[in-house]
Assembly symmetry: C2
Homo-oligomer: 515 residues x 2
């Protein structure tokens, strides 16, 4: 049936959506969320129908994604008909009903995800089924491979490619900004791609962006890696495993994360990584609560790596407080730079040297950590970072004091004296976000005390930085409410950790979706 | 943050959607599908955000549902902020993780469904979880009650309210058009609401609409029932258990139906039904394949009825071929009218008398079926139907030959001689839909032969009626491909029922979502 095109000035964020009035939808047998085939000249695309009750008859409203694809003008004529349900929907239904999927079935689903043939309702049902029924290692392998095959891949044309990844969950984790130059300074190739923050106050891409541009093309990445052995790029625009980005859009509102392994390793495989160290921050306030859980996850990473021809080692790291003192893109970039210049907090330096060290040992070194520490102390890593900054278009001579930090500052002081017994990661992250991070790069939190530190009444525990008075006030209010520090005179003096009242109160556990 | 309103000429079909540009969305910490609070004058509503990449900055696009609610004009200013995640989302998450939900938790979810506080992604995940984990009878009860409490209810101010329901799945099932006047003619009150077809060629509301208007208000229903003891109304606009209608919108694309019982009985409870007979068509080609399954479902209906203070009996009926000969709204209305006039097919008449008879026996009759047959034969049921038609605004003197049937007709003849061994319900339904039913009321299929009938080579098996040559041609093509009749000389001559080739072919099982 023919329709007149009505251009809608709306972008859906990737989905191909058309709007059709209910009368003609019904004539065509189209329900809301059904797929339709839209034909224009020699082109044929599949779009998702929004059935609208008051839309002008025989008009087809098209979102900008569809306009881009069809290159069509207002008032032109298109032919619309119901599309066949994609085969992959049958496989999704099998997964809903608890069946294991074969590799070709998974490939068919992932292909339809990338081609936007599946609606949000179908994607949501698919990830919910994966979460409930779980995935076998065969399925995980097939998911990962399908994600790689349906996206861009980059061949750096060099020898072994090294990589480092953290599954996330600890605020202030700027370790990557140290590990990459340490490894590259040792002569290895490490083309690192990172994500921006989803639920946290800063992702590595947000941090690095304070020092230099991170939005690189594949071509730019290749040339920078050729020059410096490394890069610190944002992975988001590279179309590496794009299915993953689309699935995250439905995982996030549901607070479920059934595709953790395929999500991470597909991005690694797409850049041809051969040797990877995976950091699993563990403990209270992180994603992974116990060493046992961390070991199970590590085994899965290693097994999946084998199936994908990648050598993987995992490091379980202490995650019960932020790494270093700084939380928020600019504060963290400054701290990382200082650390490379020999003035870094002990935990950050140790974590970076440990993870770089694991990579060195995978490549044959006897004492990797020592080697990493030597490179750090020699200033070679700092020099390498400055090379990378220059190659990516930043100022290689940047000084820590050049980095702009939020002008609005509030000090949060202790009401009690003693030692810091705990720091609540999620609360600290929340305060930094309310202060404006990651969007406002200069916003965040700078700790003044860490676990085990002595505190006198009135001592500053941490400072909140913000770009706006209003946000600073909100952050201070929430800080006072959350009180993320536990300070006691003697260990054991405060034994009550939590209280569950008889009246059932719904407790919203904050969800960490960081990769 | 303040935004300028941009009215979008789009209706979403019930959802409250706003469109916001990605930059300001990010500043506010809003992701696609997040809930936002929109404040205008003294009003405050929750809407779902669509984050658009190219939308004008600081403009808020609003769908017509939101315009209706806020009564706002283009260019006016609204305040937008992220809304708290509704409490019900936590309960949905608990269900995803396999927990049983309490009645207050379920009430909170259903309330948020009706108030459109939940996105499609969340609804899809919820129904998927219900489908996978199943529901306890306590949950089913709570779901049903919550659906009733969040919608309209009608009190007819009369004594016992009787009702009849079929879970659907057999084409041509116009039994309700006979049962309602039989029961009403016996002096009982039966205010019947029915649905339109979702996946079938005709729903009862589609059939009755051939005879008289069915889109009644609650007030009209009450006055018609007062006059005639009965009505045959479309339930869709009455806002009885509206949560069910909203959940069906996500169940349908997923082809799952975890809310069958609450869906049906909430609508019954909302009109105050006391005595209900539930028809469970059973056998090959229906929703319920075996008598065992039918009995399990019947037990659940009866148990749920008890919990809701409704007396329920179930009838398991033979469903392996269409009821009567006619499939499609007009053809079926004509056949039903003929049956009330004493010229009906034996299976239709027997089914109607049996179900009406079960109701009569629930009300104390000794031989209900005999009583129902007597009313039918006496012409009292026909008279009652004509009363109802008149009360609803139709022509009470309508003759069967007045009913318009599709002018384009094709005859499908048998290639073989013998007896009809099977008729494939789903194929017949599909042919009728392709011919134009239910949208084109006059379209459909009229069988000429039924199970066990003798057939000579060249005999007409069935006729396809359509309003358009093109649709008729499509229907004939599909009819030839599907070949829904099995004709053999001797029973047992064709033993091969199905064939599963070694090459895996994806087989799409048609999904019946009829209530």
């Amino acid at each position: 049936m023919e329709f007149k095109v009505k251009l809608l000035e709306i972008r859906s964020g990737g989905k191909q959506i058309i709007v059709i009035d209910d009368e003609y939808a019904s004539l065509l047998g189209i329900h809301s969320s059904d797929r339709v085939e839209v034909a224009y000249k020699k082109q044929n695309i599949i779009a998702i129908a929004n059935v609208a009750t008051d839309f002008p008859k025989k008009n087809l409203g098209i979102y900008e994604e569809v306009q881009d694809k069809l290159k069509i003008q207002e008032g032109e004529t298109v032919t619309v008909r119901p599309a066949e349900r994609p085969e992959s929907l049958g496989y999704i239904r099998n997964k809903i009903n608890g069946q294991r999927l074969t590799a070709p079935e998974i490939k068919s689903i992932i292909l339809d995800v990338v081609e936007r043939h599946l609606s949000d309702v179908e994607l949501a049902s698919f990830v919910t089924s994966l979460h409930i029924h779980g995935t076998s290692m065969d399925e995980v392998e097939a998911l990962t491979k399908a994600m790689v095959e349906t996206g861009q891949t980059i061949d750096f044309g060099k020898g072994a490619i090294l990589d480092k990844h953290s599954i996330g969950g600890v605020p202030g984790d700027k370790t990557t900004i140290l590990v990459v130059p340490i490894v590259a300074a040792a002569g290895f190739t490490i083309p690192k791609t990172s994500s921006r923050a989803i639920t946290s106050p800063a992702g590595t891409a947000d941090r690095v962006e304070v020092l230099c541009p991170v939005d690189l093309t594949c071509e730019e990445m290749r040339s920078i890696v050729k020059k410096t052995n490394a890069c610190l790029a944002w992975g988001g625009a590279l179309e590496l495993a794009p299915a993953d980005d689309l699935l995250i859009q439905v995982e996030y509102p549901l607070s479920i994360d059934p595709l953790l392994l395929p999500s991470i390793l597909s991005k690694k495989k797409a850049i041809g990584a051969d040797y990877i160290v995976v950091d699993i921050p563990t403990g209270r306030g992180t994603k992974i609560k116990t060493i046992g859980e961390a070991q199970t996850l590590a085994r899965e990473f290693i097994e999946l790596g084998k199936r994908l021809d990648m050598h993987i080692q995992c490091g379980v790291t202490f995650g019960e407080q932020p790494i270093g003192y700084a939380i928020g893109p600019a504060l963290e970039a400054r701290e990382a730079l200082l650390a490379l210049m020999g003035k870094g907090p002990i935990d950050l330096v140790n974590k970076a040297a440990s993870l770089a060290g694991l990579l060195f040992e995978m490549m044959g070194a006897k004492d990797g950590i020592k080697e990493a520490n030597n490179i750090l102390k020699s200033g070679k890593a700092e020099k390498k970072l400055r090379e990378i900054i220059a190659a990516q278009g930043g100022d290689p001579n940047v000084k820590p004091e050049d980095i702009e930090i939020g002008k609005q500052v509030a000090e949060i002081c202790s009401d009690e004296a003693g030692r810091v017994q705990w720091i609540n990661n999620r609360n600290i992250a929340q305060i930094a976000r309310i202060a404006g991070a990651p969007k406002t790069k200069s916003a965040g939190v700078l700790l003044n005390k860490k676990l085990g530190d002595k505190v006198a009444t009135g001592d500053v525990l941490y400072r909140i930085y913000s770009g706006s008075t209003q946000k600073l006030e909100s952050a201070v209010r929430i800080a006072e409410k959350l009180n993320p520090y536990g300070v006691t005179g003697k260990f054991g003096e405060k034994m009550l950790v939590d209280r569950i009242p008889s009246k059932k109160i719904y407790y919203e556990k904050p969800f960490i979706l960081e990769r």
